[in-house]
Symmetry: C2
């Protein structure tokens, strides 16, 4: 079966939407947050735990999996789901962002991207056709088109040229796909230039994809400019297709961009911050290494229902972190991922109750200072 | 309640024994292997997982917990069980071995040991009374006396002097204890000198403890000499009390020393080797990074019933290890700990069936080459 999307509801006072994304590996309520499982694992968690946290779909990284263990190996194992023991939906990115941010000596030409691996410096080429071949070998439920992730700032001239290539690559991706069971999403680029975003989206929708993503955001631009770009671009995307904001973001970003009509998010923030001891609670982030948690018997977040908050004190979490114990990463990751999943549950509930405008206002007033203590 | 030991059975053709150790936090069938939870966690595993693997008792390290997070803090939390969310039995070592092997600038005198922390170089003093105070604050089910862990080789003269002090420290430990709910074990030292072992054990049993340990073994001496020392010392220990061989060992060591009449073992080997990618299977150790596991679809050990072996391929475990994923440590630790626990299950079964002699012969023939591939 080919993944399908059903738009269930539009919020009465904002762009926020409720939807249902059906894939061969399960159904996903949107708006949804996708934990990142870069190298075939959500770092530190067994798949059963990821599921227990309420995650319905995870993201795999094409660039990483192509380099290691290699997409042919994954294909020989019957795909990533089986290889990593995760039977839920998987979305794979196209590798474009990693080629832009991780690989060295990258060279982007009309044919595709030549780059050196960040692991061993070996030289590789990925064009649109190869990008699809890799993602079909991985067997993800949702594939992304290869794109050039535009840096910020970029001149209008460069942004326009880049957009043209991204659009032509998108067309080639669509032509290259063979699988009927995997959705393919197009990616909007164009930097912060509204007119280019508009043109790119028009061209993408003419080609026609199963869903649409906004890419090239959260790459260093001011937060307000990101929100503004999303606010202008999201309404241009086809209403009956899922809308995915790539690599975003903070809880505040998510609340804001759901408001603009985004359905899908992914970000390394909950997992990466967990490893660094930065833990999300309602209204503030906690640096668990801080000395004033030394003898704090209270749970990390008394409102949280996760395994970590139900069973451990801040003092114990601090001890594990200071002692560099692996369990610190495990317990912190459990909490942070659950925090993001719970946020999405609250968001969906608010939209369902025609209350998203209030929810957003309330959230912003409590999270005006999302700073580290 | 004070922990008690019941000797259930002696093997008909060897020194092997079946027993039951009852503590305030649960009952333990012996011979038993205790996974090491140095800093208030079995590295990488949540306590529910440790329990699922069949571990009935874990070991905590007095030296580490005293330095970090500090025993007063643990006492304020109602003890280590509650602090770390493990409701099963805990044995704490005395810190003697860590002072010997980890701390710097240590100075052992009649009064006790002065040493510098391996963490920050701060100076500390632990004598027998302090050692008991710390373990009572931790609230372990079984405490160990402070001892001097004799290096190998040691002169007879030094070994004799050291033994005298270890015995006097043991007496002071017994005098210092206040808790009625915690067992206290004496530790036999004396190096590889049979006569000194004999004298020390006689003195310890005269003082009288709830159990007896053999210490100062597996500190660099040849394996055969260790087995020989255990073989001569174990029968000297009171039959009605549990016998614990500290810090030992390989599966082969365990099989051999159960044969000599040892009831309890602990070792970092399963957990530490897991982190290094050295995995135990029947008859051989596997270095999971080895290239010939790259596309190996088979489980790590087809005879193993652990979560890792039931759900993952060698190829996936190799991928995680090569990619330095945290999940590699988690999955490897699950398997290695389960491997040791299963070994103890088989050992108890063999003793129960009056078949330990055969079991041992069979094990030795299959494990004659416990080398890394």
């Amino acid at each position: 079966m080919k993944p399908t999307f059903e738009l269930l509801k539009r919020d009465t006072t904002s762009g926020a939407r409720l939807g249902k994304l059906t894939t061969p590996h399960g159904t996903i309520d949107t708006p949804v947050f996708m934990p990142v499982g870069t190298q075939g694992t959500v770092k530190g968690l067994v798949p059963e735990r990821v599921k227990e946290l309420g995650a319905k779909i995870i993201l795999g990284n094409t660039y990483h999996l192509y380099l290691r263990p290699g997409h042919e190996l994954i294909r020989d194992f019957g795909g990533l789901h089986r290889f990593m023991n995760w039977d839920g939906p998987i979305l794979t990115d196209s590798g474009g962002f990693q080629i832009y941010s991780l690989a060295t000596l990258r060279k982007l030409e009309e044919e595709g991207a030549t780059f050196q691996s960040h692991i061993d410096g070996s030289t590789h080429f990925i064009g649109p056709e190869k990008c699809i071949e890799i993602q079909e070998a991985i067997g993800s439920d949702i594939m992304m088109c290869l794109d050039e992730c535009l840096p910020y700032p970029a001149t209008r001239d460069y942004a326009e040229k880049s957009l043209g290539m991204t659009t032509r690559w998108a067309k080639r991706c669509k032509d290259a796909r063979k699988s009927d069971n995997q959705a393919l999403f197009g990616i909007s680029q164009g930097g912060m230039y509204g007119e280019l975003r508009e043109r790119g989206i028009a061209e993408l929708t003419t080609i026609g994809f199963d869903g649409y993503a906004l890419g090239g955001l959260s790459v260093g631009e001011p937060k307000e400019l990101m929100w503004e770009t999303v606010g202008k671009s999201a309404p241009l995307l086809p209403e009956e297709k899922p809308r995915y904001l790539m690599g975003v973001g903070t809880p505040e970003d998510i609340v804001e961009c759901v408001y603009c009509g985004i359905d899908m998010f992914d970000c390394v923030m909950p997992t990466r911050n967990a490893r660094n001891g930065m833990l999300f609670t309602n209204g503030r982030k906690i640096a668990i290494r801080n000395a004033h948690y030394r003898d704090d018997e209270s749970p990390l977040d008394s409102e949280c229902d996760c395994y970590t908050c139900k069973n451990y004190s801040r003092a114990y979490l601090r001890h594990l972190f200071i002692a560099r114990e692996i369990l610190a990463i495990v317990l912190n990751t459990i909490h942070n991922v659950r925090h993001f999943i719970r946020l999405m549950e609250k968001i969906r509930e608010a939209i369902k109750n025609d209350d998203y405008e209030n929810f957003r206002r309330d959230f912003k007033s409590k999270n005006s200072d999302v700073d580290t203590d």
